[in-house]
Symmetry: C2
Amino acid sequence: MSDLASFVPPPSSQAPRAFGLRMSMPASIAHNYTPLTPVAFLLRAALVCPNALAVIHAERAVQYTYAQWAARCLSLTFALLKTPGFTPGARVAVISPNNPMILEAHNAILAAGGIINPLNIRNSPAEIAYVLGHSGATIILCDSEYANLLPKNLSKDIVVVISNDSGGRDPKDPYEAYLAGGRREWEAQERSSKKGLLGWELITHIEDENAPAALCYTSGTTGKPKGVITTHRGSFLGAVSNAFEAGLGPTSVYAALLPYFHACGWTFPWAVTAAFATAYTMRKVDNDAIWDALLNAGVTHYAGAPTVQIGIVNHPKAKKLPRVVRVAVAASAPTAQLLGMMESLNLVPVHVYGLTETYGPVTRRYTEPTWAAMSTEERARLMARQGHGYLTSDEARVCRVPPEGADPQATPLEDVARDGKEMGEIMLRGNMVMKEYYNDKEATRKTFRDGWFCTGDLAVRMPGGELNILDRGKDVIISGGENISSLMVESEMATHPAVLECCVVGRKHEKWAEVGHAFVVLKQGQSADMETLKAHCRERMSKFAVPMYFDFVKELPKTSTGKVQKNVLRARVADAPQAKL
Amino acid sequence: MSDLASFVPPPSSQAPRAFGLRMSMPASIAHNYTPLTPVAFLLRAALVCPNALAVIHAERAVQYTYAQWAARCLSLTFALLKTPGFTPGARVAVISPNNPMILEAHNAILAAGGIINPLNIRNSPAEIAYVLGHSGATIILCDSEYANLLPKNLSKDIVVVISNDSGGRDPKDPYEAYLAGGRREWEAQERSSKKGLLGWELITHIEDENAPAALCYTSGTTGKPKGVITTHRGSFLGAVSNAFEAGLGPTSVYAALLPYFHACGWTFPWAVTAAFATAYTMRKVDNDAIWDALLNAGVTHYAGAPTVQIGIVNHPKAKKLPRVVRVAVAASAPTAQLLGMMESLNLVPVHVYGLTETYGPVTRRYTEPTWAAMSTEERARLMARQGHGYLTSDEARVCRVPPEGADPQATPLEDVARDGKEMGEIMLRGNMVMKEYYNDKEATRKTFRDGWFCTGDLAVRMPGGELNILDRGKDVIISGGENISSLMVESEMATHPAVLECCVVGRKHEKWAEVGHAFVVLKQGQSADMETLKAHCRERMSKFAVPMYFDFVKELPKTSTGKVQKNVLRARVADAPQAKL
């Protein structure tokens, strides 16, 4: 870390002596109205705590204080503004793992009046080419490690800026040179400003808080990815919610394992700044590096799917931390066993739920006072529910799915009973719902019913009103007319002491239409056979829900965000011979 | 407390079995837009934690869970809606100390589409009559203890609802009967709803988030009080800020010493609800009752001026609390001695600054890491600054005061140097600034310059950018052409071990135009004479700043919110014979 502490940012990333930290307000704006934009958090942090660390990028031994980082972001803003092809509303694509550049892009692109378009670096070149073509990005900020993803036949009108992620240690790094050019433009504009405007005062605050801020493509397992447009207002309110719900504060350090390209990192690039906290960026999920950060860098918060947690808690370096680390867990909730292991290390999970279309997390399973006296098993079971809407969200509803053949848009919304039994679809609306699918009116129209966003996730509402997802739409297994929640089967299976992870998908069946096929990863040194696990399941669920087939595998196929790729497993069983009773 | 725990609210305050906790959205509203209103916090709390305590009113041995309280608030909403004279935008006055009724009014009046107009119960009947006449309130909710404040010749068109603050223990309490009437209306509307709407679904969510929500009159020491109009959006954002900045959460208990009629209790009626915390209401500041609450009711937060703190820390029951209690201190910062005493009791002060025109607190003195190693004296000196804008506020500026004779509105804004020396006026704008002075275009026009609100408070900006108030406008003493900060003189004087409190005002002087006149309260059992205190001051400030006159008094005259009434002291010295050198 001594290397880190001695790092001196290049001139383009140094705060000037006299530094305007306020954007100019459009003349049309009322005195009691500031359009909400998450860029405001950066300027406030640089003003209030200029010497606090905004970003630590240990892998490259660079770090920036808020004063320096605001300067870097402003340099990038000016660099964008003077780049040919940049106009208000321009899409600026970012192809990058977690590092300072993608964080800077989250502020600078918005400040310049553009739309950030972060791409999934686990996508294939063909997918990248599709997304770039669809978004119409005119500028691409690209990490050199992922330059191979760039389409070969890219139009010459598109400006590509390559970053070696040197963080300013190498002035020849093209991204650093781009920033330096922005800094020159900024200084030239200061010199020619008749009003004597400085720094951020040269930038005009966004006028319409409902203007697009980000364009994130869903990683849709089927069909073409869809571009989710979110707004400045939603990003601001989402970030405030996440900061509040996570209890982020000036002494917090957020370890960024969760990719920032994933739904703009759930607004955490802005939430961390709003709280004057520090972002600890990591190019990849490396459990060794994560434990270094947990043990030595004061990490207090991180987020990730249970599969990510499994790797963390089972790492040889794992030991009980001297402070509570709050962990947002999404995709599914930790099993009782994982919960117990996490808690023994002082990793305290909070179960959240959301989608790219909802700025990431939009519901949270709020802890109830009665939980304190419960067993880990019981708490895990309760924690597994998706809970209730966030501070800035509307109520999360579960509505009846329109009958087969009916026009969903013409079918009035009906809430399911709050009985924990009647299944419906989770529906959301309000400030934490996307504006639209980019350039896709038909998809947008279809995904809303009576002003409510259809998540595609099937759930019940418990008597307490909280959501309880039975399955992500297509993950439900329908066997002999019975709906089987693959999630439920997986949770129960995972309570067996030999099971590390498992996944259950539907497989075609002559008699039952579908039956469950389980893929199981056993813990090292443990053993269990199919009959043992079937017996374990039979004690815990209806007979029809017990998977008929088992594959014992070394690992499960996963997305970059740690979600199990059920589509891959489904494809694997699709070609299997039709199963017989 | 057993009495409290066994309390069963009357039928009108009980949550129904099937309870809609979502307002109906106007058809015009986009799917990704929910107009911000603090009423949403109440519905969310009742949904997520129905059994958590929303309000404890120990003095009358009543308390309500969020489910019950949402029912009470909805009963009040319907009672208002069916009251003759209630129309959208109607002003509903509240004359009440801190109790459940005034808290309910903060939700119900807004939900009904009215404007809450809380009156200062320390005002004279003449002042009350003026405010009621100016606000044009058509309904008055009035606590019976303060019914004597009601004008005798009140128009018969104005509906007055008297509350005995029985909290439902007495069904004959007129306020309870009013709620019961509202409940009947609510149930009748449920029965006749063709869509089967329940509870809050019968209420339409506000359409324009910039619509007025509250009308609070400034307690102006000179001239007629002015009516400050604030909005739903500002109240929502202010409440979120206060919840975040104060670290309110589900286990927090906020002791409401600060009057709710004062700038809507700084948005705390809503902030506490946003955080699922509990409001512990107290009809008056009674140090004995405060210590009961601190020791036995789990209080974690309260707010008040330093003069209020002095009474609390010096109370015989004072002892070190087993947990940190966070105390928002406004009006001025605690002296080093007070800070030390508070910290020894585990009362941790946070210095905030604001006005009725800014929803209460709008800046905060953020703690800096270097403070940890400092002496109490040094920390108190640093803490005394007003700091920086809140999470949802724009940057707080200090601008040059237009020269004598110039038209302020035509004079461009110029920031003072950040040198801790150049004095100017604190200027604010944005989401935490009022909309306007009610029915007073001229006062509104005059109080804004180039879209920035002129606070009237004189300050410098420190090199770190934080505000440091030298004096509230008229409190500056100008002696021989030198500006003397009476606040500075008071802070220094208070470091003398015999001084409990002091106040310094300007007094006319033949030669120097003005000189300082100090009013000093000594600690019990301590003594100090004028010469001792003058010598103490001379060591700490310019000679011209040392007060020339001293009065040793038993107590200082104070407003209901604990501010010293400098105007009263100024009047006292105005008639004194002209002072000579």
